[in-house]
């Protein structure tokens, strides 16, 4: 099933071409050597789609959430999965960057599983802070912790790309941000030791690994140490959730990207008194929820992240 050719790893070192559409604006960006350049308007998110290895990212399903910002978070997750099922080309697999549930209740995990499994894709999870709040902190691990280390971190390879799932939502310190911890950082260093620097790396974790907005806790205390470990790798893509909106940054060969939630939007940094759920007009909600598809082309070596809203 793998189309990967080990003699010709897929993604370039210097030239990271990134195509990305922003919902509602339809601007296609290309980023070469870290400099963004607009290619102009595109008709739809699908316009940027291209052959190659494609995987999906969904995030922040918050199954069980029923507050005004979205009284039916399970329903919008269902819509997201339907959207995935309607994609013309079947993605290789899916990652979920955490906050599967809202309150870590068994029924919430069960409902999430029931819906997400309808995509009939392998799903690689990392936990969000909302997945670790059951009394005994065991439900997430029982379901998704198999074969993982520590609080649930792990790595795997697919189509020549090395994927690393990190956990930055446990053992948080007062006044601090997300936290990876010494044990996980040591594991990461060890995990990367055997990898050639030309191996494309995708790191995914719930809270952004880079500092988005510390006033709201949107960052990871020791995220920079993880990124140090990734220095020298030609292509690094960091995929996060937690902030319920698309945000992107390119630094050298590292592309940072956060995905939309499938449950409810959160405000842009500093635009509201708190990062809590943002209530928008019912007709707008689905334009602010969605899924991301990430495409590694085998030949031209561009990496494309396409964010697709549920609607609009």
């Amino acid at each position: 099933m793998s189309e990967f050719d080990h003699d010709h790893p897929g993604v370039s070192r210097r030239r990271v071409l990134e195509c990305m559409t922003w919902a509602g604006t339809g601007v296609l960006w290309t980023i070469s050597g870290g400099v963004p350049r607009s290619l102009g308007m595109v008709g739809s998110a699908e316009a940027a789609a291209a052959p190659g290895m494609t995987f999906l990212q969904i995030s922040d399903s918050h199954v069980g959430f029923d507050k005004p910002a979205n009284p039916n978070a399970l329903g919008t997750l269902e819509e997201a999965i339907a959207k995935i099922n309607a994609m013309p080309a079947k993605p290789s697999f899916m990652i979920h960057t955490g906050d599967i549930t809202h309150l870590s209740k068994a029924a919430e995990f069960d409902n999430a599983e029931r819906i997400i499994s309808q995509a009939k894709l392998d799903v690689h999870y990392v936990p969000g802070e909302h997945d670790f709040i059951d009394e005994e902190v065991k439900l997430y691990k029982e379901r998704y912790g198999k074969g993982t280390k520590g609080a649930g971190w792990y790595s795997f390879d697919a189509n020549g790309v090395h994927f690393i799932g990190l956990v930055n939502v446990v053992d948080l310190k007062a006044g601090g941000l997300g936290n990876l911890g010494a044990e996980q950082l040591a594991w990461l260093e060890d995990d990367l030791k055997a990898k050639s620097k030309s191996t494309p790396v995708v790191v995914f974790a719930h809270i952004p690994l880079w500092t988005v907005y510390p006033q709201w806790g949107w960052g990871t205390e020791d995220g920079a140490r993880a990124l140090d470990t990734l220095k020298g790798f030609g292509s690094v893509t960091v995929l996060n959730g937690h902030i319920h909106q698309v945000m992107q940054k390119v630094e050298g060969n590292v592309t940072f990207h956060t995905a939309r939630s499938t449950a409810f939007p959160q405000p842009a940094p500093g635009t509201a008194p708190s990062p809590g759920p943002m209530k928008v007009e019912d007709s707008k909600l689905r334009t602010l929820l969605g899924v991301a598809s990430i495409n590694f082309k085998q030949n031209n070596q561009p990496l494309a992240i396409i964010d697709t809203p549920l609607q609009g």
Partner: protein, 113 residues
């Protein structure tokens, strides 16, 4: 007319207990109403509260997102969903710094005198 008598007795016992506990704890009745910390917009309000030894402080989450109240080694609430409360009685003087273990940028302090 049994029940009014019973209720009257109940109230009398409750009042006696209240006074008794109040005496032991040193917290006066008028303080009790103010010993609340509200969680709104990812902040503890008031961020710092001064109470007397024996006082019980109640935190109430009014956000649409769950929070916790954790003071390392001292107390730890379960996860508080919207409108859930957590109470803790302070039996020793000191500065009790606490935070939300889910959103650690949320911090507060109870000064117990």
């Amino acid at each position: 007319m049994k029940s009014p008598t019973r209720r009257g007795l109940g109230i009398a016992i409750a009042a006696a207990l209240f006074l008794h506990l109040g005496f032991l704890g040193g917290a006066r009745a008028e303080d009790a109403a103010n010993l609340n910390v509200m969680i709104d917009n990812f902040t503890f309000e008031p961020a710092q509260l001064t109470v007397k030894v024996g006082a019980t402080v109640t935190w109430k989450n009014r956000d649409d997102i769950p929070h916790t109240v954790v003071s390392a080694g001292k107390f730890r609430s379960k996860t508080l969903d919207t409108d859930d409360s957590f109470s803790f009685t302070f039996t020793a003087a000191g500065d009790y710094k606490y935070f939300c273990s889910l959103h650690p940028h949320m911090t507060g302090m109870i000064k117990v005198e």
